[in-house]
Amino acid sequence: MIQVRELSKFYGKKAVVEKVNVNIHRGKITSFIGPNGAGKSTLLSMVSRLLDADTGEVLVDNDNVKKMKSNDFSKRVSILRQSNFMNVRLTIRELVSFGRFPHSKGHLNAQDIRIVEQAMEYMELLDMQHEYLDELSGGQRQRAFIAMVIAQDTDYILLDEPLNNLDMKHSVQIMKILRRLVEDLGKTVVIVLHDINFASVYSDRIVALKDGRVVKDGPTDEIINSDALKEIYDMDIPIQKMNNCNICVYFNS
């Protein structure tokens, strides 16, 4: 379990994240939702140590992350942010191999190579493993990065808006993969999402943020209802049940 305790981040005097307390449960998908500027990405960055918190602490399985060596930390928690380094020419295989970096420092042994190949197979990338990232489509590229995280083999996988710039088909594909990671491999996934319907359909728990504070935190069913959504988004959003999914119809509310 990841425990977030009284975590705050200030830019100047303004708090972007203020005294946040959240528990992230093992073996579940937890979605962070909320309006723009709610502090979702900032919170995720602090949990993953990309950003230093101003106050508070984060515990991963009861270990304070501040006291962990960065190499040990990177074997337990991985983070994927919106990928904006598309000018690097690496092949899929090279990228996925870097997932083993915390374990091997770049000198892959037979076991590392096997893990890399399994990760590519899992993401159905084996056929195109020698293609360059800058020549792939957005969906393929996102899959390559997820394969890298699989090869990194951490218990916790954090993703910051992984569906950005993806079309419907690829978004669904990525979400299904994350679901499988949780169910097949027992991973714990934390994901920042903009589309609440993806959060509703695919996550086990939802943490809703607004103005840097947690306004709702609980199992998905408890959050996806009109009253809670009104509090989070200031919108009247009717919920429709379709194929056992709760769909928020927010387009004309």
Binding site: S48, L50, K69, F85, N87, V88, E94, G106
Partner: protein, 316 residues
């Protein structure tokens, strides 16, 4: 781009380079150890070849490291002010210690090269508008500012003539006893190879590096120190060689990608080959006179640079 072909090309060109020049030397002459030809060979030709190989490989690797760490294909010692900072450092060392030894010059110039490059990286961090062409333009302006400072103080203290020796890269002055500083490139190349994976990871950005548990800032600093070392030794012994660090890594990247462990040998080889070709041409074109290497590389290199620019546009 096979490594094997590059090595063969390098050996053939090296051989050619050894036996091209004003005094006619044939391999047969070398059998007589005491002949004048052998002496010229050992004092001038061989050092010249070694200097070209080390400078060519070194500057290309320096460019490769800079491009990787700045995540911009158009950043290199030429386009980031490193060369100009080095020259300013040499001027300062000349003004401070009138009879500066090579090592004193080296130390001061190194400090300036490093400071200049760090300053440029700081500017990079602060620029919001991260356009691939805009950044090297900023670097060129930065370099020109440093260069004008150098010129001003050189003019004031009457050392313009002296300084221009470091403005123009020139291999004709390379002789035994005047190029050995360049051997520093060899350990630097080895260290670069050992750090290749880390540089590749760092090239994918701070967040990406931190995710993989890499001490990003430290790796960037190590990279910049290596760049400053190579640049300083080359400028001090040969002079400025523009564009080399810019075009060679770009050409290799097109064919071999950006995985440093894979591309380092190619980059070093191609850099040496390119510089050898430029040098041989410079010696042959207006025989028995010589065109300086910085002019040759400047002309051929800027042509290739333009090609790369247009090619990039076509792909964007």
């Amino acid at each position: 781009m096979k490594k094997r072909y590059l090595i063969i090309a390098l050996i053939l060109l090296s051989f050619l380079s050894l036996f091209v020049g004003v005094s006619h030397i044939t391999p047969m002459d070398l059998l007589d150890f005491k002949s004048e030809e052998t002496e010229i060979f050992l004092i001038s030709r061989l050092p010249r070849l070694v200097a070209i190989l080390l400078a060519g490989a070194g500057m290309s690797i320096a460019g490769l490291i800079m491009q990787q760490l700045s995540r911009n294909k158009f950043v290199s010692p030429t386009t980031a002010g490193t060369l100009d900072a080095t020259r300013l450092g040499i001027l300062v060392s000349m003004l401070l210690f009138t009879n500066a030894s090579m090592l004193e010059k080296m130390a001061v110039a190194f400090a300036f090269a490093l400071a200049g490059t760090l300053l440029f990286m700081q500017i990079l961090d602060r620029i919001k508008f991260k356009d691939a062409i805009f950044i090297p333009l900023v670097g060129l302006m930065f370099g020109n500012i440093l260069s004008s400072i150098t010129t001003f103080f050189a003019y004031k203290s009457n050392v313009i003539q002296n300084m221009s020796a470091w403005l123009q890269g020139d291999f004709s002055m390379i002789m035994k006893g005047r190029y050995e500083l360049l051997y520093i490139s060899i350990p630097v190349l080895i260290i670069t190879y050992l750090y290749a994976n880390r540089f590749t990871v760092a090239g994918m950005g701070e967040d990406f590096s931190k995710n993989l548990g890499l001490a990003y800032k430290r790796i960037v600093n190590i990279g910049l120190i290596l760049v400053a070392l190579i640049t300083t030794t080359v400028v001090l012994t040969v002079g400025m060689i523009p564009f080399l660090g810019l075009i060679i890594p770009n050409i290799v990247s097109i064919f071999k990608g950006d995985h440093l462990q894979k591309t380092l040998p190619h980059t070093a080889l191609l850099g040496a080959i390119f510089l050898l070709i430029c040098d041989i041409l410079g010696r042959v074109l207006i025989y028995p006179y010589e065109i300086s290497i910085s002019l040759m590389v400047g002309v051929i290199g800027s042509g290739i640079f333009l090609y790369l620019l247009f090619r990039r546009k076509a792909y964007a």
